[in-house]
């Protein structure tokens, strides 16, 4: 049985004229330690899928099992890095991360929890800014805090909901490289939701395209045949990169054409 298995996830929301079927039967399975990206157009239901997997909203139909246990509600074993950072503005960087560390390690001593918190902050290179409030940080730094908080939950599955979409292109590239480095250092199972095909190829082992909604489903998996560790400069010209890019873009375009 796969580490994460979601079967037939359906979700509708009440719209102004009748219910809108956002997800129409999503199947997804993941092995432990895999990095999977889900790519789709804006508004195709990506965030809905994250809230289902995160347990923040229940699916109308379908089942989800993570490491043998059914997913019924939110919990730190499925850490979420939110699209809008969702840092608590009244807390320092340190306290934002410590909130997660303290929540998942209630048995550790105060000293050990402090060490862990500092470790996660150092992992995203924010030690010099650890006593600053989120509003004093740039967008890239805020997103780093959000990543550190997600990792600090020491989750079985890390869900990232368009984590870098609000950043400028240069900062986004830097953070992608950092995520590669961090993920190389401590492999955890990641589902990355994104609308950026290149981001998906650079980061993920496999890519699932999400068809444009309503009634979105996952398309056929696209393997990213690029060796790790990956270095951005060498990637974009390689045949494996071009092949994966072509496959994702063509699939999403064909969905759109079929609909038009």
């Amino acid at each position: 049985m796969p580490y994460l298995e979601a079967r037939g996830l359906e979700k509708s929301f009440r719209g102004s004229d009748g219910p809108v079927r956002v997800l129409g039967g999503v199947d997804l399975s993941l092995e432990e330690g895999e990095f999977v990206a889900i790519v789709g157009y804006s508004g195709s239901g990506k965030t809905t899928l994250v809230s289902l997997l995160g347990g923040l909203a229940p699916p109308d139909v379908g089942t989800m099992v993570l490491d043998g246990a059914p997913i019924t509600g939110p919990g730190p074993e499925r850490g979420i890095v939110f699209q809008q950072y969702s840092l608590l503005p009244w807390m320092s960087v340190y306290d934002n991360v410590a909130l997660a560390v303290d929540a998942v390690n209630p048995r550790l001593s105060r000293l050990e929890r402090r060490r862990l918190t500092e470790e996660f902050i150092a992992l995203v290179n924010l030690t010099p800014a650890q006593w600053k409030r989120p509003r004093e940080l740039s967008g890239g730094m805020r997103q780093r805090v959000a990543v550190a908080r997600g990792l600090a939950m020491q989750p079985k599955l890390l869900l990232m909901d368009e984590p870098f979409s609000a950043l400028d292109a240069l900062t986004r590239a830097t953070l992608q490289d950092e995520l590669l480095r961090i993920w190389g250092a401590r492999r955890c199972t990641v589902v990355l939701i994104t609308n950026d095909v290149d981001e998906a190829i650079i980061l993920a082992d496999r890519i699932y395209p999400l068809t444009p909604g309503p009634g979105a489903v996952l398309g056929p998996v696209i393997e990213v045949a690029l060796p790790r560790p990956r270095v951005r400069q060498h990637l974009s010209l390689s045949p494996g990169y071009q092949k994966a890019r072509h496959a994702v873009v063509e699939f999403l375009r064909s969905c759109r054409r079929a609909r038009a």
Binding site: L56, G75, P76, S86, L88, W90, M91
Partner: protein
Amino acid sequence: MPPRPLARLLLPLLGLLAVLCLWTLISQTVATDLPSPLKTWQESRRYVLEPFFKDGEMNQGIGRLAYYSLVRVAKGYLLALLIGTPLGFVLGLSRGFHGALDPIIQFLRPISPLAWLPLGLVVFQKSEPAAIFTIAVCAMWPTVINTAVGVRSISQDYLNVGRVLRLSRLKMLVKIIVPASLPYVFTGYRLSLGIAWLVIVAAEMLTGTPGVGGFLWQEYNSLVYSHIILSVLTIGAIGFVLDRLMGLVEARMKTS
């Protein structure tokens, strides 16, 4: 366009001058019982220049009288916050409580302090606790309502963070709900203080206790009209300062 510094100083002075002229004019023509600005000053200068003298229970410097009123307001106001803040949080957190209590609150809110005071006297038998009760019962509504609105308008993003971390109810309250609603809570505190200060005059007038409001009523009965104006100006000045101070506190809460 923001006015230039000179205009910012000059324009209020011009406005003040115009009001003083109008006041003089009215006191000379329509209402001859109304003391003119000059007469008001002459009859009040001792109260202002020696603000803490005390000749008798009701004949004291305006500073001393204001102090009595401020202490009384502080007691009532603190009581209002002590009751109003938790009540607001409960109303904001629980749909059931909100459904049960909101109609009652909307019903009690517009009741005048003049109506509460006799009831307070009946219940407490003494004027001092009756006055404090009246201040509290009138001043707490903005705190209750703003706190409840603040709690209900907390961003779902913040709550989701707490849900993902499976924070206990207490931790959720302390770490997320209270800090997230503080800006609203302090807006409520500022509005409540304004009302508490409005109520003090009515409470002191009816109970005849020493304070700015009590002094005002007593001087009306003793026909010293200039002291009514002195009291009115004092009440206005103190209310203005209190509002500004709370405004500063409130602004601090908003930026964090």
